[in-house]
Amino acid sequence: MDSDNSSLEALDARVARNRRAIYTGLKPFFPEDELIAALSLWQARYSGGPAYALHGFLNEICTTPPLRKIRNDVHRSLRQALFGPDNALESDPLLQIERWKSTHGNGGASSGGNLGARHSASSNPKTQVFESLFEHFLSLVDEKQPIGLHLRSYIDTHLEKVLSNGPVSVQVSRWLRGKDARLDDGLDLAEMRTILHMAYVLACEYLGPAMADSLLSEAVQHCELQAISRLFPPRKLL
C-alpha cells in the first residue's frame, strides 16, 4: 500500500514537473488565454503519456498556417523546457488551468484544434468537424501550392449548383470568402461532402491525385486526433 502511494506521488510529481515545462515551453508563442487552453488540452489528453511524445499534441495546437510555420520552434522550446533544469521552469499553472476549466468546461479543453484558429460557432459536431477538416485540408494544399484562394473562389462560384437553400448558401459563401469567421449549422451531410469533394477534385487537378489523396488523408488524421471526432467521425465526410 505504501509503495502504491509512493508511486502515485512520484507520478503526480512527474506530471506537475512536465506541466510546468509545457507551460514554460509554450509561453513565448501563445497569448495567455490560448496558452491555458493548450495546457488544459495537454492535461486532459497527453499528461499520462511519455514526455517526449509531443507530435500529437503539437498537431492539435498548431492548426493555423502561422502556427504551423513556427511548429518546429515550439517543439524545440518544449524539449528544452522538458529536459532542461528545474530552476528554469515557470511555477505550476495548475490553479490557472482549474479556473479556466471551470469557465470553459472540459469539452473546450479537449478541443485543441480551436487554438489560434477560427472558433467554430456551431454546436453541431458534424459542422465543427467539417469546418476543421475543410480548413486543414486547404491549408495543407496551400502549403504545397498557393491555390487555397483559388479553391475557395471556385467553390464559392459553384455554390448555387450545390446548395438549394438560399440563406445557407449566402452564409457558406461569406464563410468561404473569410467574411464570416464561423460556419453556422445548416449544411446537411451530402452538401458538406460535395463541398469537400469539390476542393479535392481541384487539388487533384493542380497537385495530382496521389498528392491530393495524401493531403486529404493527413487532414482526416489530424481531425481524428480532436476530441470532437468522437462525436462525428471525419471519414463520414469523404
Binding site: Y206, A210, S217, V220, Q221, L238
Partner: protein, 432 residues
C-alpha cells in the same frame, strides 16, 4: 506390354496395315489433344498475369476492381464465346465475312471441343486487354457489358476474316494470304483498338493531366505484382503461340524459341530507348517492352528465322515507349500502356510477319496484304467499339463519378478492399 509395342512396331512396318495407320493416327490425335488442352491452360493462366500486372499498375484502392474485371471477363467471355463467338468465328463461312453455325456447341467431335476450349482462352485474352487501359475510373457493370460484346461479336467477326472457318468456307483475308499465325492483329490489335476506343469515351482519370495539359504519372501500388504478372504472361505465351499449331508438331520448338527471343529483345529495346532518351530505366516500361515483343512475334513466330524474331521484338520494345509518349501528348490516359503494347506492337508484328517471311523475305505483295489486314482490323474494331462504349455510357453508365474515383472503386463497386490492414487512410465511415 513390351509385346504390345513390339506388335505395334511390326504392324507399322507392314506396308498395307490399316491397323498400324489407325494406331499411329490415334496416338497423334491424342497427343494433339493433350498439347492443345495444355496450351489452352497456359493461355488461361495469362489471365492471372494480366490481373497481377494491371492491378499492380493501379493504385491500391482499385486493386479488387481490376482483378475482378480480369476474373469475371474470363467467365462471361467463356460463356459468350461458346454461345455466339465460336460460331461466328469458326462456323461454316460461305461468304468469307462470318461463320453461320456451331453456336452453343454440343454433340460435336472431340477435336471440336478441344479447339473451342483453346480458342475460348484467346477470346478472353482479347477482351481483357481493355481492362488495364480503362482501369481506375470505369464502372464495373459497364466494363463487363463491353467486354462480353467484344468476346461475342467484335473479336470473332474479325477472327473469321483472318483465320477462316474450321469446317467449310473461309475468311476473305485468309484467302488473300494474310499471315497472322497466333493473333498479333486478330487478338492483340483488336483488343488494343477496343481499349483505345474505351479510353477515348471514358476520358482521363482525375488529375492525370494538369490544368496546363502537362502529363502527370500516377504510380501503381505494387511493382512486384507487375513483375510477377510479366513473368506469368511470358510463360503463358508459350502456350499462346506454341498451341496455335493446334497439333503436337515439331515446329513448336522454333515457334517458342522465336517467342522467347522476341520477348527478350523487347525488354532490351525498351531499356535501350529509355537509356537513349536519358530517362531512368523503369521496370514497368521494361516489362511492357517484353510483352510488346511477345505481341509482335505472335503473327510471325512460325514463319520467320530467330534473327528476325529478335529484330521484331527489339523494334516492338522501342515502339512501346514512343506509343506511350504519343498517347500522353494527345492526353489519352492508358493506365497500363495497353494500346501501345497490344495495338501498336501488334501492328508492327503483323507487318514484320510479312517482311520477314522465311524463304520469301520482303515480298511487297505479302506486305501489302498485311497492311490490308491491319487496316481492316482497325476499321472494323475501332468504330464499332467506339459506338459500343458510347452506347454503354448513355444506357448504363461507363464512367465512375469523381466521388467514387476518390473513394476507390474497390469500395464503391465491390464494397470490399484489397488491403484492409494498411489501407485505412481514405476509407470513409460508410457508404451513405
Amino acid at each position: 506390354m513390351l509385346l504390345k509395342w513390339v506388335g505395334l512396331g511390326v504392324l507399322a512396318l507392314l506396308p498395307e496395315s490399316s491397323y498400324a495407320d489407325d494406331a499411329v493416327a490415334n496416338l497423334q490425335s491424342s497427343m494433339d489433344t493433350v498439347w492443345l488442352i495444355t496450351a489452352g491452360a497456359l493461355v488461361f493462366f495469362m489471365q492471372a498475369g494480366f490481373a497481377l500486372l494491371e492491378s499492380g499498375m493501379a493504385r491500391a484502392k482499385n486493386t479488387v476492381n481490376v482483378i475482378m474485371k480480369n476474373y469475371v471477363d474470363a467467365c462471361l467471355g467463356a460463356i459468350a464465346f461458346w454461345m455466339i463467338g465460336y460460331g461466328l468465328m469458326f462456323g461454316i463461312n460461305p461468304s468469307g465475312w462470318f461463320g453461320q453455325d456451331h453456336f452453343f456447341l454440343g454433340n460435336a467431335e472431340h477435336l471440336d471441343y478441344s479447339l473451342l476450349f483453346f480458342q475460348t482462352m484467346f477470346a478472353a485474352t482479347a477482351a481483357t486487354i481493355a481492362s488495364g487501359a480503362l482501369a481506375e475510373r470505369t464502372r464495373y457493370g459497364g466494363y463487363l457489358i463491353g467486354s462480353t460484346l467484344t468476346t461475342a461479336v467484335i473479336y470473332p467477326v474479325y477472327g473469321s476474316w483472318a483465320w477462316g472457318s474450321l469446317y467449310s468456307g473461309s475468311g476473305w483475308l485468309k484467302e488473300m494470304g494474310f499471315v497472322d499465325f497466333a493473333g498479333s492483329t486478330v487478338v492483340h490489335s483488336v483488343g488494343g483498338w477496343v481499349a483505345l476506343a474505351g479510353i477515348i469515351v471514358l476520358g482521363p482519370r482525375l488529375g492525370r493531366f494538369g490544368p496546363d495539359g502537362t502529363s502527370r504519372t500516377i504510380q501503381g501500388h505494387n511493382l512486384p505484382a507487375v513483375a510477377l504478372g510479366g513473368f506469368i504472361l511470358w510463360l503463358g505465351w508459350f502456350g499462346f503461340n506454341g498451341g496455335s499449331t493446334a497439333a503436337a508438331t515439331t515446329n513448336i520448338g522454333l515457334i517458342n524459341l522465336n517467342t522467347h527471343i522476341a520477348a527478350s529483345a523487347g525488354a532490351v529495346g525498351a531499356m535501350l530507348s529509355m537509356a537513349l532518351f536519358g530517362r531512368p530505366i523503369l521496370m514497368s516500361n521494361t516489362i511492357n517492352g517484353s510483352i510488346a515483343g511477345l505481341v509482335a512475334i505472335t503473327a510471325g513466330c512460325a514463319t520467320m528465322e530467330p534473327l528476325y524474331a529478335m529484330v521484331t521484338g527489339l523494334v516492338a520494345g522501342v515502339l512501346v515507349l514512343i506509343g506511350g509518349a504519343f498517347l500522353d501528348k494527345i492526353r489519352l490516359d492508358d493506365v497500363v500502356g495497353a494500346v501501345s503494347v497490344h495495338a501498336f506492337a501488334g501492328v508492327w508484328g503483323t507487318v514484320a510477319a510479312g517482311m520477314f517471311y522465311a524463304g520469301d523475305l520482303f515480298d511487297p505483295n505479302r506486305i501489302w496484304v498485311q497492311f490490308i489486314g491491319i487496316a481492316a482490323a482497325f476499321l472494323w474494331t475501332f468504330p464499332v467499339a467506339l459506338f459500343m462504349y458510347w452506347l454503354i455510357s448513355k444506357l448504363f453508365g461507363l464512367r465512375a463519378s469523381t466521388v467514387d474515383e476518390a473513394r476507390g472503386l474497390d469500395y464503391t463497386e465491390h464494397y470490399e478492399i484489397g488491403y484492409p490492414e494498411f489501407q485505412r487512410d481514405m476509407l470513409h465511415g460508410g457508404k451513405n
